[in-house]
């Protein structure tokens, strides 16, 4: 016993200390269980292929001789893969070394003897937990058909089909829906058992002697179930009047049971439909490399969403109100019916990893402040833009961490003040901003080794590209600075942003030239 104990402890600590072991385990965990892991889906496809091929082989085998190598493939390779998968899943399902370490530390702390028995028991319990989980049972049963000597085991081939569920998220959701109604389904099942039992026994009692088709109690139960399910094959029919009267009652109760069953399934689906939709949206979000987050669906959000959609920029809307949520869905935008002021929500949508900027457009300032604070509690760096309603909220929004505050009232005031003296200027600027006349303002970064790096403004000859340079934004040790209309001998440095104006074709042409020249240099260096 002592030897075993020290072996156990040493092993546990060795594994705990080995980064390689942890890395390998993490890899298998990702491959088998982690939905977000890139390569999991290829593993899933491979497993599906193996399952389908093995089922096909077994069906073929029923009345055709099978090729030798196919047989080998089915019996040895498929089974080996299944067994390996089963064991790997068992392995990654829990960190069992931690049980040993925890017990050891406890025993050192309390000064008691290390209880090997209890540790082994706990490890066994953890293993048992896995073995008895529904998916593990299916996995195990799917391995059994490899043993060809017992014919009944072939039935378990079907479990290989069941196993496919594991690799499809939709079916897992379906199972989750069903299991959420466990109590109702149990009641239904007991009810069915009860009625089958009563009616089976009664038929047996009434007709076992007279009816040529009813020989055993099993026949009677079989008949009862066929009747109650409203299938009614008709191979066994009640002959006596008593039994027929009784059958009418069974049929009526059968109808009730069927509708009960249907209603359970339907209601559980309607209850879960939001969750299913949300899961779908989350998978879509998962596929995006970045996106903008819009909190609240006000009129302003609607306009913003339209603009983003036109530019094919990915965005997600958070909206709690059911009516608005439906409206957003009708428009086909990605939307989650949640309150943006909850922390879990923001974690769920991978705020930290994927969101490029957050726009708070809730119905009032209080809510916007709340959302901004919540986002700041998770990420300090994500830019937050918020709308404000009242002039008194500026300070508060800034304190809450909002980077830019947009006030439609303020904008209106500024525009109104300029529109009288400079109507053309206002129009030109709003044309540029809304891209009405195809004229745009854009930023072009001075990329490393591009043809504009370390050049004087004069030498770039922007007018050759039909572009106007409004200014250059440079970030240096003193922070951001905007150089308006720089002089001809202003030298551009890497990282500067040129603010240019022109028609969208000229702008994108110039941009592509800059990028290309930078890439070309990199390729040339190689």
């Amino acid at each position: 016993m002592n030897k075993l104990t020290s072996l156990l402890i040493n092993l546990a600590f060795f594994l705990e200390g080995s980064t390689r072991y942890k890395k390998i385990k993490q890899f298998f965990y990702n491959l088998l269980e982690n939905e977000h892991y890139k390569y999991k889906k290829y593993f899933d496809y491979m497993m599906m292929f193996i399952i389908i091929s093995s089922i096909t082989i077994i069906i073929e085998e029923v009345d055709h001789p099978i090729y030798y190598w196919l047989n080998i493939y089915d019996i040895y390779i498929v089974t080996t893969i299944f067994i390996a998968e089963y064991l790997l899943r068992l392995w990654v399902s829990d960190d069992r070394r931690k049980i040993v370490i925890e017990e050891f530390e406890n025993s050192v702390f309390l000064g008691t003897q290390f209880n090997t028995k209890r540790v082994l028991k706990r490890i066994w319990l953890s293993i048992k937990d896995y073995i008895l989980s529904p998916f593990a049972i299916i996995d195990l049963l799917a391995i059994l058909p490899a043993y060809r000597e017992i014919r009944i085991l072939r039935i378990f081939v079907l479990f290989r089909a069941f196993k496919m569920f594991r690799y499809s998220k939709n079916t897992i959701q379906f199972l989750e829906v069903i299991t959420s109604k466990k109590t109702e389904l149990t009641i239904l099942f007991l009810l069915v058992l009860f009625i089958v039992f009563i009616s089976g026994v009664s038929l047996y009692v009434f007709e076992a002697k007279t009816n040529p088709n009813v020989h055993t109690l099993l026949d009677a139960f079989y008949w009862a179930f066929v009747t109650i399910s409203t299938v009614g094959y008709g191979d066994i029919t009640p002959q006596s009047n008593e039994a027929r009267v009784f059958t009418i009652i069974i049929i009526l109760s059968g109808l009730g049971l069927i509708s009960f069953f249907t209603s359970i399934i339907v209601s559980s689906f309607t209850e879960k439909i939001d969750e299913i939709k949300e899961a779908k949206t989350l998978t879509k979000i998962d596929r995006l490399s970045y996106y903008y987050l819009i909190c609240g669906y006000s009129h302003l959000a609607e306009l913003l969403a339209q603009k983003l959609k036109n530019e094919k920029k990915p965005f997600v809307i958070l909206e709690n109100d059911p009516d608005k949520f439906e409206e957003i869905q009708k428009r086909g935008y990605l939307c989650i019916k949640e309150d943006a002021s909850k922390k879990e929500v923001l974690e769920k949508i991978q705020l930290k990893e994927k969101v490029k900027a957050v726009v708070c457009l809730a119905q009032d300032d209080i809510h916007n402040i709340f959302i901004a604070l919540n986002i700041r509690s998770i990420s300090k760096s994500i830019p937050i833009i918020s709308r404000t309603f009242s002039k008194n909220s500026y300070k508060k929004l800034e304190l809450a961490g909002v980077d830019y505050i947009v006030s439609p009232y303020q904008t209106a005031g500024l525009m109104a003040s300029k529109i009288i003296t400079q109507p053309i200027a206002v129009e030109a600027i709003s044309d540029i901003l809304s891209k009405k006349k195809n004229a745009v303002c854009d930023e072009v970064e001075v990329l490393k080794n591009s043809f504009i790096e370390n050049k004087r403004i004069k030498d770039i000859e922007l007018d050759k590209y039909k572009l106007i340079l409004l200014g250059v934004r440079r970030i240096d040790e003193n922070g951001k600075k905007f150089y308006f209309n720089p002089k001809d001998d202003f030298v551009l440095k890497e990282g500067d942003l040129l603010i240019i104006m022109g028609y969208s074709i000229s702008v994108s042409y110039f941009k592509s030239l800059v990028i290309e020249s930078s890439l070309k240099y990199a390729r040339f260096r190689k």
Binding site: L303, V406, G413, A416, K418, F482, M501
Partner: protein, 234 residues
């Protein structure tokens, strides 16, 4: 910002009105309100020429309009429907008066234009554009804000070419405002080609005539020098 005799009538001192009022001279600004509370705020903000009228009280409105000559009227009530109503009311009295109306949606913009508003400011559209640029091209937005509002020395100006000025008869490509005046030429309204504003980047080589309007951006000093030269140099 305005010449001293330009009178402006501002209808509404709600959330929009108070922001607009801030940009104008108190001397020339007349405020009409339909809500007693808002009117009190206007009084509190030290505006003196304020009037309370009821919706549909055309007589009082007509009286105000006839007393003074207004260059511009702002319809800036918080309620879009009331803006439409005031626009149409004023236009029935006086066709030639210039009305600038505030709205929050495309729907109301259409109605206001039908009602006769000369300019409609869609605040929501503007804000949406602003947010879009803030998240997609923040440097552009910052630059525009800097040019338009923050840097007091920079201005956007429409400059009409006077008769016999040194630019008359020249082609756009032959003049270099940047070298001579450190100005950026954005666009031009060419009288010959119809009164449309054309961005300079379209690449059309306009011939500059008298009465054409150039849209330029630059430091105020430079603009002043340019305008002075336009008038003096031949």
């Amino acid at each position: 910002m305005q010449d001293s005799e330009n009178n402006i009538l501002l209808i509404g001192y709600g959330r929009y009105g108070e922001k607009i009022a801030r940009f104008f001279n108190k001397e020339n600004l007349y405020i009409v309100e339909i809500n007693e509370k808002n009117l009190q705020r206007a009084r509190h903000d030290k505006f003196e020429k304020i009037f309370l009228i009821e919706v549909g009280d055309d007589e009082t409105l007509l009286q105000i309009l006839s007393q003074k000559k207004f260059d511009y009227i702002f319809c800036a009530l918080d309620n879009e429907e009331e803006n439409v109503f005031f626009t149409i009311t004023i236009k029935t009295f006086e066709k030639n008066i210039k009305i600038i109306a505030i709205c929050e949606s495309k729907e109301s913009e259409r109605k206001l234009k039908l009602a006769g508003a000369d300019k409609v400011i869609d605040t929501m559209e503007g804000s949406a554009s602003k947010i879009f640029h803030l998240i997609e091209k923040p440097a552009v937005m910052e630059a525009i804000e800097e040019i338009l509002f923050e840097d007091e020395d920079i201005d956007i100006r429409e400059v009409e070419i006077p008769k016999n000025s040194f630019l008359e008869g020249k082609y756009i490509k032959d003049i270099d405002l940047k070298k001579d005046y450190n100005l950026i030429l954005i666009g031009i309204i060419d009288k010959e080609r119809g009164n449309n504003f054309v961005f300079i980047t379209k690449g059309i080589n306009h011939k500059i005539d008298a009465e054409d309007i150039l849209l330029i951006i630059g430091y105020k000093e430079d603009i002043k020098r340019f305008i002075r030269d336009l008038k003096e140099r031949e």
